[in-house]
């Protein structure tokens, strides 16, 4: 068993050497993995346990490393090394030889290391120590990796080249943190109750809370924040199969994607999370009443979303900056429901899919007296569903809003029934 210490030795020999030394001092084995691509000027005296040449070959590149690719095939060189590293790290992990991974890098090293970090199983300690991880320019790129896994990003502030008091502190802190995680991880107890995943956001807070209360005794509930980013994490983790059921209280990221709202990060496949799983899947229309459209400056600046959907003419709910929400209209609700139905009709186990409709509001904003109250538009959801959905999928209508105890009770009851039925099979 070892902790992988990953970096370009030809650029960062001193920091990598110190981290390895410190990890070993603490009684662990360190496995030094060299991802050099030939950019550095150091002729190292430190010997790698896994050489860059091996990674290059594993990634489909030349056995001499990718240095020859640098002048005009740089991107290819990086993707070869990233692929090779991912393969090597996953092989070590699968054979049970890996306790954790720490990568030390600038920008290029981060891009090479992140795919491997992302692939490692949840819970296994993973740290990236880099001065490049706080760059706003690359935030979207990084998000693909760090949004979906428990990767610890340690901001280096200074470049981790050479050796000086700052790099020394960073290296020791990094080595101590990964060692500490490995030492402490032994005690992390696993939950004994079956795990249930749920999506929720601020406008369904109470509903989610009541559902948790109803289920708490028998299940443990893992909640994903339906802000677009949390949806991405749900898409990554739920299909891995560790949950016994999935309550999709707020699939709003799907309508946001279709209509162009702000919480659209999770893309077109948001409703397919459980499509190949054989677990009970409960879908509610949380968030299918709003379009996230802040900040308000967009209103008068010729913004495409505001102009094309004429949002300024609608009911609006303006939170503190930069958040604002517009009411989804009947026509849009009909459209997103028909696309959603099409997605659900493709589910492999349709008998396990239940749709529970709160007839008096899909969020705290759309209840009677709320800023986005529009019962006529809300009706389009159930009406369209009845027309388009496969009859094998059950629709349950509840004469209450999504944040009520009655609704939560119906969700909990449906879920427990489905779990029981499944356990009898």
């Amino acid at each position: 068993m070892a902790i992988a210490v990953v970096g370009m030795i030809d650029e960062r020999e001193e920091a990598l050497g110190l981290i390895k030394e410190r990890i070993e001092q603490r009684g662990h084995k360190a496995l030094l993995v060299d991802i050099s691509i030939g950019t550095g000027a150091i002729v190292p005296s430190l010997k790698a346990d896994i050489e860059y040449s091996e990674l290059s070959e594993l990634g489909g590149g030349p056995s001499a490393g990718v240095a020859d690719y640098l002048p005009d095939r740089r991107e290819e060189a990086i993707s070869i090394m990233a692929g090779g590293l991912r393969e090597k790290i996953m092989a070590l992990c699968k054979s049970g030889d890996l306790q954790g991974m720490i990568a030390v890098s600038g920008l290029t090293g981060a891009i090479i290391s992140l795919p491997a970090l992302k692939e490692l199983p949840f819970g296994l300690p993973k740290i990236i120590l880099s001065s490049a991880m706080a760059l706003p320019v690359h935030a979207d790129k990084y998000a693909e990796f760090v949004c979906v896994k428990d990767i610890t990003v340690m901001h280096a502030v200074v470049d981790t080249v050479g050796m000086n008091s700052l790099v020394r502190k960073l290296s020791l802190n990094g080595a101590d943190a990964i060692s500490g995680m490995v030492e402490g991880g032994v005690n992390a107890p696993l939950g004994e109750k079956p795990s249930i995943a749920i999506t929720e956001f601020g406008f369904t807070d109470k509903g989610a809370h009541y559902i948790r209360e109803f289920l708490e005794k028998e299940c443990e509930i893992v909640s994903f924040h339906a802000n677009g980013v949390g949806d991405m994490a749900a898409m990554e983790i739920i299909p891995q199969g560790s949950f016994r059921a999935f309550v999709d209280l707020v699939p709003g990221a799907f309508s946001e994607y279709l209509l162009g709202g702000n919480r659209n990060n999770s893309g077109p496949n948001r409703l397919d999370i459980a499509s190949e799983l054989s677990i009970p899947y409960i879908l509610c229309p949380g968030g299918f009443d709003i379009i996230s459209c802040g900040p308000m400056e967009r209103k008068d600046s010729g913004d495409t979303l505001w102009e094309s959907r004429k949002l300024a003419e609608r009911k609006l709910y303006i939170q503190e900056h930069p958040r604002a929400h517009a009411r989804m209209n009947a026509e849009e609700l009909e459209y997103i429901t028909s696309v959603a139905a099409e997605r659900l009709n493709r589910y492999q186990h349709k008998e396990r899919v239940k749709i529970i409709v709160p007839l008096r509001g899909f969020s705290s904003l759309s209840v009677e007296g709320g800023p986005l109250y529009d019962p006529a538009a809300d009706k389009m959801f159930a009406n369209t569903l009845k027309k388009c959905i496969d009859p094998e999928i059950e629709i349950i209508e509840i004469d209450s809003d999504i944040n009520s105890k009655e609704f939560a009770a119906a969700v909990a009851k449906t879920l427990m029934q489905a779990l029981r039925r499944k356990s009898l099979e």
Binding site: L135, V146, V157, V158, G180, S223
Partner: protein, 405 residues
Amino acid sequence: MSRNPTVLLIATLDTKIDEAEYILKCLEEMEVNTLILDPSVRKSGNREVTITPEEVAKAAGTTLEAVRAFGHEGKALDTMTEGSIVCAKSLYEQTEINGIISLGGSMGTGLGTAVMREFPFGLPKVMISTMASGMVKPYVGTKDIMMLHSVADISGLNSITRSVLSNGASAMAGMAKSYQKSTEDNKPIIMMSMLATVESCSKMIRAEMEKIGYEVIIFHTSGTGGAAMDELILEKNVAAVVDLSIIEVTDYIYQGLFAATPDRCQSALRKEIPVFFAPGNLDFMVGGPLEAAKQQFPGKRYHVHNAQLTAVRTGPEEMEEVAKYFGSAFSSIRRPTEFFIPLKGFSNHDSEQGHLHDLSMPPIFEELLRKHCPADTPITALPYHINDPEFAAAITASLKKALSR
């Protein structure tokens, strides 16, 4: 003699008490003592703590009742953040703290990291956060904060949150046990800015200065590094500064992607320590993907660095603005020790092998810089490329001379 370390836990116990208790339990198992700061707004008295919500509000010059009466989450957060910083700092002065750990969603992350940013580099800082996505800059700023992404919401204990909380606590325990206050080295420090495009120059200077007993700390000037360097120059005892990459000045003026702070390159002038400049990377600005870069900077030469970044060739107009920027800093603050201009090119892009080479530009910059700087500014133009060994040697010689004075 080994003593148990002490860690400060910042947690809003009105919403996160179970999760906070779990962290406390993990830390206790690893023989770490804890102090607790509770900046809750909704409810206080959730458990015994070191600093109560009432004390936090008081430190911000108000009361918890008044904060609640705001009826505005953002304002309440600002006030409790301000109070938390005051309380944490005074605690740090009274007793030994070997690390700060916090957990939270969007509000808690803002508050926790705002406190951490007030503490010195090197002190272990762990933020367990639902917000640890790709965009961490607003939270980490220019500090060495560890952001541990919770993946799922931090609401209730379950297999996922337990694993994340335990990992965060363990990382903190690992670091806090060996952290000691003021482990400053005795070696004098030189701070230097660069990008990979001027790396050869920086490497040669670093090697020479390390040989004679200096520590050289390198900052990557891609929008955060230069700002961090300027901040640390003011904070730490620094012998000299070599500003080899000034792209953040150009990008600030022209809204390129590597823009940093409006007063980039000025800290060393203000602190009156030896400071050397070279116009490293003045040959380009940084734009987004090629099409976006063309739109932002029309009619220029472009070099696609990767799918996200395009280097855009600068011309006399940009050179003049940058010359004016330095001229004004040199006349209003102080002259630099020396400004070196490499007449054969300002970066790897601006070299015979590069895609943006233009030999006519360096002399133009020299002329403009002389025009806009006070007459007694030490400007030295040399017939070399910035990455030529002779150029690095000239800076090194001048640096050694200034330090020996």
